[in-house]
Symmetry: C2
Subunit: 206 residues, 2 copies
DNA sequence: TGGTCGAATCGTGTATACATGTATACACAA
DNA sequence: TTGTGTATACATGTATACACGATTCGACCA
């Protein structure tokens, strides 16, 4: 696994928490390389909005406040609802089979560590028919930002049943080509996720 | 002016056309610096989606096809209409005065070289009340991508009157707090711009 | 004459070395 | 005791040097 992949994984998993200061010299020593590839990796992570490079200071893992996180989720709602709306009217049978398969797999991972990957795979399988690579890349970035902050908290398993039910409802509407319905269900689903995270963050700040 | 600013300006102005291959060694010699700052600058431009870094090959200025440009404009419509809708209900008097001032200034530049800056300033002044820094940054990136491709063609002045009229209509609705109306007018405005560019691009490809 | 193999050249990737700016800690003065 | 100034240490920014890979040109062979 390459340097940038390792750093990205550790940041997204919360191993390197938000606000951490990443020092080139330390990383270079730890990975047994010079500082140049480390600089490249940090700039690449900055391109993905996972860290912010402060000139002469180093790279800091992003740490967003409630307002900024709310904006991230609002952007996700805007972009993901548009994607599912576009996609629902263009699905092929192979794509429907694929999405059903991904949904079944994500059911098994629900609540278990690494559930975020399954959740993302399911959502992305719904968006694939839209054929909007740039928009999908943006959604990945926004989801990375959210995942990075979610990893700080051990997400409760109490809402997983509601969460699973949402997924099945969204999938059914999507599969049936009911674009407006799928988009509305997705909006409610993401809004609930937004409110949940904001509740955690504001509770943390007290 | 710093290295990255110079490169960005030349790319956006079309001086370095889409598809150009930027070589580290050549840029280093031209600017009288070593290759390290050049690498940094190219990676920073890659973060803004202005170039794509091909490992072992160099950095290439992006060149989008009709389908990708259409996606960029659709994303702009999605994000900018949401911004104007959020902003129109939260304007302060100072912001309305500021936008009117920017509109008057952009009127004078219409059709003249550099009109894109005035157009962007006007639109951004409308979005400012929304207080969505990340969303606004995304719009800037998307507008950069569009500007880079628009710079290839000498934009005709025949549509400027229609274009100016659009701006005044959008401004009036925005100023009056008519969010839905402003968003609808903006959507039509941007759709026209999209179709115009796509027409130029497809005509070029023959 | 066309194709293929090989060598040379060019450009990037990386390591090492030096310069610059910043943060921190300590000492001294108010 | 507190604030400021300076010195030291450290991290980043940059230049130079070397290694690897790719591409291209040429030569040789079929």
């Amino acid at each position: 696994m390459t340097l940038i992949e390792t750093l990205r994984r550790d940041i997204l998993a919360g191993t390197i928490p938000p606000g951490s200061l990443l020092m080139q010299t330390e990383l270079a020593a730890r990975f047994g390389v010079s500082r140049i590839p480390v600089r490249d990796a940090l700039q690449a992570l900055a391109a993905e909005r996972l860290v912010t490079v402060v000139p002469g200071k180093g790279a800091r893992v992003i740490r967003l406040g409630p307002q900024e996180l709310a904006e991230v989720y609002d952007l996700r709602i805007l972009l993901e609802c548009d994607l599912i709306h576009r996609a629902a009217r263009r699905t092929t049978e192979a794509q429907r089979d694929e999405a059903a398969h991904v949904l079944a797999r994500s059911d098994l991972e629900a609540g278990r560590p690494g559930w975020e990957a399954g959740d993302r795979a399911f959502h992305m399988s719904l968006y694939a028919p839209a054929e909007r690579p740039r928009q999908i890349a943006l959604v990945h970035e926004l989801r990375d930002t959210a995942a990075l902050h979610l990893a700080q908290y051990q997400v409760l398993a109490e809402n997983t049943s509601r969460w699973l039910d949402d997924h099945h409802q969204i999938f059914n509407a999507w599969q049936a080509g009911q674009a407006a319905s799928a988009a509305a269900l997705l909006a409610a689903h993401l809004t609930a996720a937004r409110d949940h995270l904001l509740q955690l963050v504001t509770a943390q700040m007290r």
